[in-house]
Amino acid sequence: MTTAIAEAVSDTRHTAPASHAVWTPFNAHDEGQRLIKQWYTTLETANERKEPVANVFVMGNAIEILRSFDFHMVFPEINSLQSGVRKTSAEFIRISEDYGMSPDVCSYVKADVGMMLKEEEHPVGKIPKPDLSISSNMCGTFIKWAEIWERRHKMPSFVLDLPGQRTSNWAVRPGDAQHSTDSRWVEDQFKDLIAKCEKITGKRFDIDRLAEIQGRVNQMVIHWNNVMELNRVCPAPYNAMLDGLTYIGIMNVYRGTVEGVEFMRRLEEDIRAKVARGEGRVPEERFRLLFSGTPCYVSMRRLVELFETWGGVFAYSDYLTFAAGGMDAAELLYDTSRPLESLAEVTALAAQRGLSNQFFAHERMEKQIRDYGVDGVVFHGIKSCRFVSAGMADTRDYISKRLNIPTLYIESDLIDPRYWADAQIKNRVDAFFEALQQRGGAGPLRGKEVPTGKGSLA
């Protein structure tokens, strides 16, 4: 461990909860909502204040660089997600389909196009026009989406090309020849991006500022990994698919900020306290599940209810890995003594981690099932998302046959309510739990032993 990384870990240890710390009330959901609202409020006036705005995605986004130039970050995926939660996505999608968009393309994109056609009026407020967009090849749709903004807003889009896993059992280790090649390519692109940011903002790149931001990201990543590890215990203190979304939302939107570090610190503290009290998300936890895919935001509560009424809790969701751009491993920390090089090295590794979680899902899932003591895997196929869904049925076949793990496949969409078939989904969920019960998993799981992970700061 280099000195800078050791310092980051040390800082986090210092801020991590001690057993004698004074307990103060913290509701992660409420605090998360407050922060998201605050972020949207700041965005509303960014154009008026003539402050630079960048459209970015949750995967492969170079936020550390953008933040060092004081860009405001707009996350169009989160805007679309929010339109689903706030029940306006159907209207946005209708507007975009009337405009000519195909029923068969990403509903996030359609909601965004619908919103643009309504002059950026989103239920959370006005979304500012971007000066720059960063998309990455982690999801092919990102690039097409950015091309729509290029046309609409007449602004540049920068595609960050992040090489992923090339073949099965691909093992890239930090510093090996392949990692060096990939990192150098990523660093070349960061340098190019920095030049573009300097041109747009009229500011000089400040490498010390970048290091400062990276230091905060390191602290957030350490807390985040601890939060994820804490869900390995039984009962699971939170639902990875529902509560996890709030957590990951803050990880993305407030990445590299003081508020972000504080939220994640308090979150870890809160979850540790729940674990100490033996408090689970589900009162009588009976089944521990892995959720693969993204949720259906228009029926979010219902989706959770269908599982929790059976005592099922999502202990892990692969969404928490790929939607954080793969930054869910404690070894993915920046060396702040070499900010740019380290940014490229970690980004190259994290991207592969995030991409592999989907494109070679079976290789990761076996470990995730083991780590989280999972009784069954729920695959949620998203009609309009090939990134998540194209290999899902085949992965399910592999997991069921090779690992003899019960699986359930349901299908709907991210935010298009037309694809949520409640009765059909409920029937499938019920049948899945009946099958789980027949396998002898009916009893409450409190006290069940689950393997403990590495890297805990406790």
């Binding site: 068969d104 070349d188 494109f359 085949d394």
Partner: protein
């Protein structure tokens, strides 16, 4: 005497087209015992672009895997891929699962879209003994360093293939393959020149078969066929019909059924297209006598290349290259197609239609699937479109 020569050329062309038709639409892989001399195996690659020269220099026959067409019965893939995934990915999966592609030495896919990337995982789960790779061609060709990165990807591929065939792949062998493929690309450019200048001499469906055959046969044989075909086409005496000149876009990955192209040919002259654009991706000769042939291929990918909906390049905005294609082909209109469930194609189809609205250029929007078998309605749409164009142009 002249008529006899014409007849002889026509007969020769018919024979070539039949040969190409048979080769082009064969979804199978040549048996290892039936490989042409000098080849020890086959390397399958998914659209769009693949540096065939590297496989060729390794003694592997590069085969572009273009799905199952409209004759394939789906028995396995339906349960492994959602119904909302494009046909070419589903049928390619079927060909992998039903054993049709079992003879491949390896299979390479590309980050052109997310469904295509998933094919590598599907391959690794179901055909674990077959080499399967994603060749990470960059979606950012504009940053300085892109050529170096592509060259490193090509070197990685070269090393993988060398391990597979059991011998090194020399620079000299790659240079020799580059020379051969340059010749083939020049001949394909000649075909398209005829399409633009004298479209009545060569229909799109004929030209398509001539190009597509090159995805299944050796470069050497393809060159021979193209040379003979070009000679025969140049001797063709066909009267120019009164048909509108159109360009066709949307055929860069999944291929439209031949019957669809024939239906368009009946109504219009397709004076340019993006069908099998990967075969024509490099639009100028790759430098032949350079120290590092891999670098020459990588540099050509960036500097001497066409455009497609699945390659972002800030030098080639989508609307600009469509308009440039229209101008270069002196086309009256465009046929904007997209394969069903192909997100990049469907996105560009819509925004191209907006560009053409703005430019006052007429267009027809069509959606296709490789597996479609009914074309009557499409033919009627095309006839109506062609008539309206002719009235407008009269």
């Amino acid at each position: 005497m002249s008529a006899q020569i014409t007849l002889a050329h026509e007969a020769q062309l018919t024979a070539i087209l039949e040969r190409c038709h048979t080769a082009a639409l064969d979804a199978g892989i040549p048996d290892s015992n039936a490989l042409p001399e000098g080849f020890t195996g086959t390397l399958g690659h998914f659209p769009v672009y693949f540096p065939d020269e590297i496989a060729h220099a390794a003694g592997l026959l590069p085969v572009n895997i273009l799905g199952g067409g409209n004759k394939l019965e789906m028995k396995h893939a339906d349960s492994r891929m959602g119904s909302f995934i494009c046909s070419i990915c589903r049928s390619t999966t079927e060909l992998g699962l039903n054993g049709t592609l079992a003879g491949l030495t390896g299979f390479v896919t590309h980050p052109i879209c997310d469904a295509a990337k998933h094919l590598a995982g599907i391959w690794s789960r179901n055909l674990p003994d077959q080499m399967s790779e994603i060749l990470y061609l960059p979606q950012n060709p504009n940053t300085p360093g892109a050529v170096r990165y592509i060259a490193s990807e090509y070197q990685r591929l070269r090393a993988e293939l060398a391990r597979k065939v059991g011998h090194p792949i020399s620079d000299a062998a790659i240079r020799s393959s580059i020379r051969l493929y340059n010749k083939k690309r020049r001949l394909m450019r000649d075909l398209y020149e005829i399409r633009r200048e004298e479209p009545w001499k060569l229909s799109c469906s004929e030209s398509y078969m001539l190009v597509r055959a090159g995805t299944r046969i050796t470069c050497e044989e393809h060159i021979e066929l193209l040379e003979q075909a070009l000679d025969a086409i140049r001797h063709r005496h066909v009267a120019a019909q009164d048909k509108p000149r159109v360009i066709f876009v949307g055929g860069f990955c999944e291929q439209p059924p031949l019957e669809m192209l024939e239906a368009i040919d009946d109504a219009c002259f397709i004076v340019d297209d993006d069908l099998l654009i990967g075969q024509r991706w490099l639009n100028k000769d790759v430098p032949e006598d350079v120290g590092d042939p891999i670098w020459a291929l990588a540099e050509s990918y960036i500097e001497r290349s066409n455009a497609s909906p699945v390659q972002h390049d800030e030098r080639k905005p989508k609307s600009d290259y469509l308009m440039a294609m229209l101008r270069a082909a002196k086309a009256d209109a465009a046929i904007l197609t997209a394969a069903k469930f192909c997100e990049p194609g469907l996105d560009d189809q819509l925004f191209w239609s907006k560009d053409l609205d703005e430019a006052g250029v007429q267009y027809l929007v069509l959606e296709f699937e490789e597996k479609m078998t009914s074309f009557e309605q499409m033919s009627m749409q095309l006839e109506t479109f062609a008539e309206s164009l002719l009235f407008a142009l009269a």
